[in-house]
Amino acid sequence: MASAETPQVKKDTTFNFTELVLSKEGDVLRLSIIVVLLFALFSVLRSDTFPTVGNMRSMVFQASEIGILALGVSLTMLTGGIDLSINATANLVGILAGTILTAMIPEGAGTGQIAFALVVALSVGTLTGLVCGLFNGFLVAVVGIPAILATLGTLILYEGIGTAITNGASVFAQEALSFVGNGDVIGIPVPLILLLAATGVLTFILNRTRFGFEVYLLGTNPLAAKFSGIDNTMVLIKTYALSGLLSALAGIVVLGRINAASVDFGGSYVLLAVLIAVLGGIDPYGGSGRLLGVLLALIALQFLSTGLNMVLFQLSGANFFKEFAWGLLLLLVLLLNFYIAKRNT
């Protein structure tokens, strides 16, 4: 507070790298440094397996679906809320789409029949994600339930609906959808293209449209947003609907990649998505953060996960060390952000 009244103008004309890294705008730079360091570290430790094209490809397939979910969490966090139902929504979408594909494509079906089934399955999947998101938005914005509770409730509800449909078993998809999860376009994996496209569209929406401006303003100060004529209710509903759509996309990518869907899939994805969003510089209290940071955080986390697996693979329970490392990382990032914020006020 005191420094706001007496601004300490430190307009140093000489380029100061440390100053830049630790500045408030340095988050993207900081993340880029972390990404490079992690890449270098694991490339040295496992020079035989880590820096290979094959490994990069397999990392892309793993990271893309989590990345798409992290975008949804980031969006809702920008408004000061959160969406914990992302993975439950994605699984429900996968289950419905898979069920439709299985029902509509009998053995020896023709190309036309397969194409029609795909259109129906994808439409129903997208619509399901949209409805799930709209319902979240309705509960948060219209009913006025805190976002954590509303989406915890719908998490259980959507998972419950998925369980009721499948009896808890796995639903299988068809080869027809495999392109979305495993395919390539001029050598670039389709899930990566989808992730980048989603990031691009959302970045445009956030930076260049009225709605994007409203999201940031609502997240910074809901009361100020309201008094400046913004319809907070509509902005929130749209935000959660977008998050639902992103979950649907993730669900379809997963269904295509592993050719199956179940309510149990991706148990740790919610934590990971929140971790990626916070690591990427999205303020959990809302109002600030960029999707470019989220993308960099995704890469850093994937390097860490795969790298740790490769380094620790002889040890029993290497997976659990990863869980430990993720939790620790989240706490460290929170602390780092705290100190940087403090330093810059």
């Binding site: 509960l139 419950g160 869980e323 993720w326 989240l330």
Partner: protein, 348 residues
């Protein structure tokens, strides 16, 4: 005296009515399975551990925070306690000194204290991050949930302890407060650990109602800024809250392991939503400042009733989650509609 209208619109009353209506429906459909003393005691027994956890969650919610890490603390405390007591041979040492019954009782008390101590330490880690740096509670505890569980599974162990459980803990599961044998029915046993839940409940009730600390917890949940201006020490209160939750989680973990007679490091984590749901159904508000012990107990009873009795009336177990999810949403929607305010309420 509150008037009639006030009573009927109270959250506790709504939950109680739901429990009663649900019980009536269940008894109509399947009286043989539901309306027995054995079944009642069974429901009570399965609500003991959730109840202990719920008391901790209640305090956190009243203070305007949320803690999702308590199941990890509970299983950490349980598993480490069993490992420590087994490796040091504490139960055997006690048996060598004291007569059998005393040794078992002391063995259980040692386990309880050790579990509480471990819970306290882990709770202090939560408290440090939350109180010292004023970080968002959901994100911190999401982080510690994974850190604690990952640490336990990677550094402590993944094997399930069965024979290694101290005999004192096993004895708890066999000791009944009440044992009634109605004619031509199964014997109904009420486990003694219900007394632990009772003690925890009374303690929390006293704390919230009659102490300055309790006032502080309500105050910082209602309006943090106002509480600070009124002279409440927010940091110290938050330290207390998260350490206390850790202690309760540790105790709950030991009771869980005692009743199930095993320590499985993969247990308990995953039940956090059920417990939070129970507390919220009982009327505690996640935006802080509201919540009662009675409401929480009723919420726990409702959740246990739903999850243990839907099968009895022929609702397939696959549909249970739909019912629980819908219940939670309705349960949080009613109070939200009742006191909707101008500002968009989103918890942090």
């Amino acid at each position: 005296m509150p008037n009639f209208r006030e009573i009927v619109t109270r959250n506790e009353f709504l939950v109680l009515m739901t429990i009663i209506v649900l019980s009536i429906i269940i008894s109509f459909i399947n009286p043989q399975a539901f309306l027995t003393l054995a079944n009642l005691f069974r429901i009570l027994r399965s609500s003991i551990v959730i109840g202990i956890f719920a008391m901790g969650v209640l305090i956190v919610l009243i203070s305007g925070g949320i803690d999702v890490s308590f199941p990890a603390i509970a299983v950490f405390a349980l598993y480490s306690t069993v490992a420590i007591m087994f490796n040091l041979g504490i139960q055997d040492a006690l048996l060598a000194i004291f007569p059998e019954t005393t040794a078992y009782l002391l063995g259980f008390i040692v386990a309880l204290l050790l579990g509480a101590l471990i819970g306290m330490i882990l709770g202090a880690i939560n408290a440090f991050f939350i109180a010292q740096f004023n970080l968002p509670t959901l994100i911190v505890t999401l982080g510690t949930l994974n850190a604690f569980r990952g640490f336990l599974l990677f550094f402590v162990g993944t094997l399930i302890f069965r024979e290694e459980i101290p005999q004192g803990m096993v004895e708890l599961s066999r000791t009944n407060l009440l044992s009634i044998s109605p004619p031509e029915q199964r014997t109904a046993n009420l486990n003694i650990s219900i007394l632990i839940l009772l003690a925890v409940t009374v303690l929390v009730w006293f704390l919230l109602r009659y102490t300055m600390l309790g006032r502080a917890i309500y105050a910082i949940g209602g309006d943090r800024e106002a509480a600070a201006r009124a002279g409440f020490n927010i940091r110290r209160t938050q330290y207390f809250i998260y350490i206390f939750v850790g202690i309760l989680a540790g105790i709950g973990g030991i009771v869980f392991g005692s009743l199930g007679r095993q320590a499985n490091p993969f247990d308990i984590v995953g039940t956090e939503l059920d417990v939070i749901a129970a507390v919220v159904l009982g009327g505690a508000s996640i935006s802080g400042g509201r919540g009662t012990v009675i409401g929480t107990l009723l919420g726990v009873l409702l959740i246990t009733l739903v999850s243990s009795s839907l099968v009895v009336i022929g609702i397939p177990s696959e549909f249970q989650k739909v019912v629980v999810g819908a219940l939670i949403i309705i349960g949080v929607a009613i109070p939200a509609v009742q006191n909707r305010r101008a500002v968009t309420p989103q918890a942090t």
